[in-house]
């Protein structure tokens, strides 16, 4: 059962049971964006308040599995109040964690791992997901939706 505990780390279950930044923001001024995973029917809805190049507030609703919902919650805590360029970097780093992880691990795993952990903080709890390829889409749904929302605002 070690694999499973890698996937469902305590932090993840905690964010699933008590999601942070859950709810809606009035639109306008907030921007609303919706993400959808046709394979499992999960969705996330993200509300974004951007001012002067800073993501001042973010809220999430939607329904889905522990991975997609905790990922959204973890994401919101990681990017809330941050300047947009930093948000973008976090998105990029997270995407790398999800897609490039296995291949970079096989070359010089330790170093990459450390870098991820340093940059990502709590988000690193999601790295167990890469061992479960079908769940990667669950973990990335919120992030793809966030990026889409930011693009729509740009």
């Amino acid at each position: 059962m070690s694999n499973l505990e890698d996937l469902y780390r305590e932090i993840i279950l905690d964010h699933y049971r008590s999601p942070r930044n859950r709810g809606e923001l009035p639109t306008p001024p907030a921007h609303r964006v919706e993400g959808f995973n046709p394979l499992c029917g999960d969705d996330v809805v993200i509300y974004l308040n951007v001012r002067d190049g800073v993501l001042e507030d973010i809220k999430c609703t939607g329904r889905g599995c522990s991975i997609s919902q905790s990922s959204c919650s973890l994401m919101s805590t990681a990017v809330k109040g941050k300047p947009l360029d930093q948000v973008q970097r976090t998105i990029d780093t997270f995407k790398e964690l999800m897609t490039g992880h296995e291949s970079s691990l096989s070359q010089d795993g330790e170093r990459d791992d450390e870098r991820d952990l340093r940059t990502l903080g709590e988000l690193a709890a999601l790295q167990g997901v890469v061992k479960f390829p079908v769940r990667i889409k669950c973990a990335t749904l919120a992030w793809i939706t966030l990026r889409q929302g930011l693009e729509e605002l740009a």
Binding site: L7, R17, G41, D42, D43, G64, C65, S66, I67, F132
Partner: protein
């Protein structure tokens, strides 16, 4: 249950000895696709080893043998569903989905126009919805749905009204989400009373019930080999001979023509008109083996066995979890098959299936290609366990053990 033995069936299915995550597999995903007994796998291997050749038009021995094997499968299938016109009414497609597309794009496009109604139900699989939506785009037909009641059965209270203007009632024999079996004979007669035809989605019901199209008085029936112990890559469309004869071709190509000139073509007659290109030959051989295997078991024994398992599972789910695991489907086994959709309190079906996998338990999370039904019950997904002839109560034991662990983990 004279000679039927689920244990013996189990011993015939190689995959059921597999060990997954340290445990022997507990396969509870037969509604998605069934596992194949050795007889089916070996029939196909032997076919490839001994007599593979393209069918029809061949004169040499193996081509004759391949043709006989292919056409023999057609006859077997016709017998299995009691087709009144025999093999001449059985078209091989690639799956149930293609069969419905064939009905919609050939019969539907030729016979339906603006205002004509195709009546479905809210518990249909996408295979019996999307082709009708596509037809609606091109012909302006109306697509209407029979509602599903809170007891997970068709709400037939307003059937008369719903049937107004209906040219085709297309409905599932058994829901792949709820397990509900629909009253096909009554529905056929109601449809015929208003001059409509009836098409039945047999993807589940043919594999888990007795299907007698003559007695039920059906007009079309669709199903897939891979859900009835057979191989992937082949499905069936059965239709009454008179209906088939009047249908225009579907896909165009070799085998479905009588003549091709540079200025036009003449379609062939008979079932080959609908089988363009090299058909799934080895798959037909596998399907024939599956049909013979099921006939050997006896479908009434299969049904009784699966009812037994379902009854036991429904009872124990209720006793063990006291409402924390809710069954989305009828709670008794009256007109119901062995498909049990679960809603586990506080745990998303994806997570349920993931935890169960650690116990070697195979259940399927998701909308099961029945999104309108999911919406009807306010669900995004369920975790679905389903039985086959090889299932045992032992499978339910492991399912319950794994569900307890799941609830603990997310509790």
């Amino acid at each position: 249950m004279t000679s039927f033995s689920a244990r013996r069936v189990r011993a015939d299915v190689p995959q059921l000895t597999r060990v997954v995550n340290g445990r022997t597999i507990t396969y509870l995903d037969t509604a998605s696709s069934s596992l194949q007994p050795r007889a089916v796998i070996e029939a196909m291997s032997r076919y490839y080893e001994l007599r593979h050749a393209n069918v029809h038009r061949g004169v040499y021995q193996t081509a004759n043998e391949a043709t006989e094997a292919y056409e023999g499968s057609r006859a077997s299938v016709a017998g299995f569903i009691h087709a009144p016109g025999g093999a001449q009414e059985v078209v091989f497609t690639k799956n149930t989905t293609e069969s419905f597309n064939l009905i919609a794009k050939s019969w539907g496009a030729a016979n339906l126009g603006p205002g004509d109604v195709v009546l479905l139900s809210e518990m249909e699989h996408h295979a019996n919805i999307v082709p009708w939506f596509q037809l609606r785009e091109t012909t302006g037909i109306e697509v209407r749905f029979i509602p599903v009641s809170d007891d997970y059965r068709l709400d037939l209270n307003h059937l008369d009204e719903l049937l107004q203007g209906v040219r085709l009632l297309s409905i599932t024999g058994m829901s792949n989400v709820l397990g509900t079996k629909n009253p096909l004979k009554e529905l056929a007669s109601a449809a015929h009373d208003v001059g409509a035809l009836i098409a039945v989605d047999g993807a589940q019901s043919v594999a888990h019930g007795i299907t007698n199209v003559t007695e039920l008085d059906l007009d079309f029936l669709t199903f897939s080999a891979h859900k009835m112990l057979g191989p992937t890559g082949i499905g069936v469309l059965w239709a009454r001979e008179a209906i088939l004869d009047a249908m225009p071709p579907f896909l165009g190509g070799g085998g479905m023509i009588a003549d091709v000139r540079t200025d036009g073509y003449t379609p062939a007659r008979g079932v080959t008109r609908f089988e363009a290109g090299t058909p799934p030959i080895a798959e037909a051989v596998g399907l024939n083996a599956a049909v013979r295997y099921l006939e050997g078991l006896g479908m009434s024994d299969v049904v009784a066995h699966e009812r037994d398992l379902t009854d036991d599972a429904l009872t124990r789910l209720e006793l063990t979890f006291d409402g924390r695991v809710r069954v989305i489907g009828p709670l008794d086994t009256v007109e119901r098959g062995g498909v049990i959709s679960l809603d586990v309190e506080g745990v998303h079906p994806h997570d349920v299936a993931q935890v169960l996998d650690q116990f070697g338990v195979c259940v399927r999370p998701g909308h099961h290609c029945a999104k309108p039904l999911m919406r009807r019950f306010g669900l995004a997904a369920t975790a679905r366990a389903s039985f086959g002839p090889y299932s045992l109560k032992r499978d339910t034991d492991v399912l319950l053990e794994a569900l307890e662990h799941t609830l603990k983990m997310f509790g």
